[in-house]
Structure formats: C-alpha cells, structure tokens
C-alpha cells in the first residue's frame, strides 16, 4: 500500500470503531467507584492468612503464583532469544577495542566520574537488595529489586570502564543465576506436591507480619525471582554493551546481496 492509502485506511478504521466505543462508554465500570469482590476478598485475606502486608506481593507469589511462574519464563525465554540473536553473528569472543563513531573523541572517564559511579553503584546495589528483601512489607520485590541490582552493575561500566565491567560480569555466571532463579521457583512449587498437596501450596511457617521472613514460601520464591530478573537483565546489559565494541569479524557480517 502507498503510505497515503494506508493512513486513510487506518483513519477510516479508527473512525469506524468510534460508534461502537461511544455505545459501550456509558456501560464502562465507573472510574474509582465500582465493586470488585475479588479484590475485597484478597485484601481481607492476605494479612490474616499469609501474614503479608503487601497484598500485591501476596497475589504475585502466592494467590496467583502460577501466573508469575509463567511470566518468569517469558523473561527467561526473551533473554535467551536476545543472547542467541546477538551472539549468533558476533561469536563468543570479546573485543578489547571501544567502538566509536568516527570523528568523535573518546574521553576516558575522569577520577570524579569513577568515584561517583562507584558510590552510586554501591548505593543502587544496596537499595536493590533492600527493595527485593522487603517484598512482603513495603513496595517493591524481586522484579523491581532484580532490575535495580542489574542497573547498579551498569554503573560499574561507567566507572571502571569496559575491563572492569567484563571482569565483574561473566555471561556464564549471569546465565547460571538466571537459570537457578527459575529453578528455585519451579522447585518451590514441588514442596507442596511432595506433601501431597497441589503445586505451589504454601506450607512453610508464615512468620510474623512485617518481618523479612513473613509469608512462608513467599520470601523463597521472591529470592528466586530476584535472581532470575537480575540474571536476565544482567545478561541483557552484557549482550547489548558488547554491541558497542568493535567486532573484528564485522566486516564480513553483512550478507552478500542476492542476485
């Protein structure tokens, strides 16, 4: 289609959908004021039945924990895909040379940058760890904490340069952390099965509300998710940053044009 035809067709579709949307609009749930019985039950149950203050975490890792298992594997699968697609053309070797856009100077990081990056890196790391640990009581959890910790590593790149970054971030290690996190989640579900109960049944002692250990199985699952997300995002960062390096094979990389 020509761009103009396409735009016209799209606008026609948008206009065509309008009457249906307008007809449905008065029937939409009233914003901020409509019953949600599901939420009421869970909000009442989580603090009592699971000793957990953050109901989002309780839903995530317990009531609807099976969904989260699937989500974790979506993450794992996407990261595996990224690895395959990037490494496939690059090979497994690394390059010591920084890639650069020609005509631009490369400025080595100054000492102030290194210092600031180190400070912030450590702070981000600690914050991430704390966010992940306090999943059951305050906002946050394995998903946010995992990304934060991985971002903390990113500051290593800024401060220590590529060598420091590669010394610290081993792709094999990240793969292992990610896989271990996913396996912990799968394994947590089996605890219940071992006792003759359904998969993912939470049978560990529930602990006191507000403590890091509250929620029985939840802190364990949370730790698994933290590892998986940390490993996954760490892997993403490693593979992406590798793309900014000069690749010795890159010259043969483009396909020969087809006849």
């Amino acid at each position: 289609m020509k761009p103009r035809v396409r735009t016209a067709l799209f606008l026609a579709a948008a206009a065509g959908a309008m009457p249906a949307l307008v007809r449905a609009l008065p029937h939409f749930p009233a914003f901020g004021d409509h019953p949600s019985p599901y939420a009421d039950r869970v909000l009442a149950s989580a603090p009592v039945d699971r000793h957990v203050q953050n109901v989002v975490t309780a839903l995530n890792f317990d009531y609807r924990g099976f969904d989260t298992l699937g989500e974790e594997f979506i993450l794992l699968c996407a990261v595996t895909g990224v690895t395959v697609l990037l490494r496939g053309s690059r090979g497994e070797h690394r390059s010591a040379r920084t890639g650069q856009v020609e005509g631009r100077p490369v400025i080595p990081p100054g000492e102030a940058v290194t210092l600031i990056a180190r400070l912030f890196g450590v702070a981000t790391f600690v914050l991430g760890l704390s966010v992940a640990l306090h999943a059951t009581s305050t906002p946050g959890g394995g998903f946010q904490g995992g990304v934060l910790i991985a971002s903390g590593f990113l500051l290593v790149f800024l401060g220590e340069g590529y060598r420091g970054w590669r010394a610290m971030m081993q792709a094999e290690l990240m793969d292992a952390v990610e896989a271990a996190g996913a396996l912990v989640y799968v394994g947590c579900g089996l605890v219940g099965v071992w006792q003759g109960l359904p998969y993912l049944t939470n049978t560990l002692p529930l602990g006191t509300a507000g403590s890091v250990w509250a929620g029985g199985l939840m802190p364990v699952i949370n730790a698994g998710v933290t590892c998986a997300v940390l490993g996954g995002f760490g892997m993403l960062f490693i593979e992406f940053l590798e793309e900014t390096r000069v690749n010795p094979d890159a010259e043969q990389d483009t396909e020969a044009p087809k006849s």
Partner: protein, 86 residues
C-alpha cells in the same frame, strides 16, 4: 484532580512519542512519557507498579534504545567508509 492532570499529560507525552520521528529525540520523549506514567501509577495508588515503571521505563529501556542507536550509527559509518574506499 491530580489524576486527571496526569492523564492528560500522559496523552500529550504519548502523542509526542508517536509523532517524534527522529529516534534519538524519541528516546528522550519516551523517558519523559515513562516518568509521567510512573507518576500516574503513583497517583492511582500503585506504588509497586510505579517503582517498576521508574526502574524499567526511565532507566533500563532508554539505555537499551540508546545502545542500539549507537551501534547502528557505528555500522553505518563503517559501511560509508568501505564504500568510499572501493
């Protein structure tokens, strides 16, 4: 009130992202849009989600976009040079 303002702001920044054709500028627009989104989540009493949005939408994602754009630029320069030589 706050929610309304944030929602309208989101509609505006979202439109800005869609209509910013130059990818490098769009990444900046994307970051701004992510920030407004996080604020809206906060106003909608979803601190967990807002947290995730800030971490992912304003830090990790723009960085990935930037790396890809930089890498594409490196490639293009190299190709230009090669064509120039031949």
């Amino acid at each position: 009130m706050l929610i309304d303002i944030l929602q309208i702001l989101l509609a505006v920044t979202g439109t800005g992202v869609a209509l910013t054709r130059r990818p490098v500028r769009q990444v900046i627009a994307l970051g701004a849009n992510g920030l407004v989104l996080a604020l809206l989540f906060m106003a909608l009493q979803a601190p967990d989600v807002a947290f995730a949005q800030i971490v992912v939408g304003t830090a990790a994602l723009p960085m990935l976009f930037m790396v890809v754009l930089a890498s594409m630029r490196m490639d293009r320069r190299r190709e230009d040079r090669r064509e120039g030589m031949s």
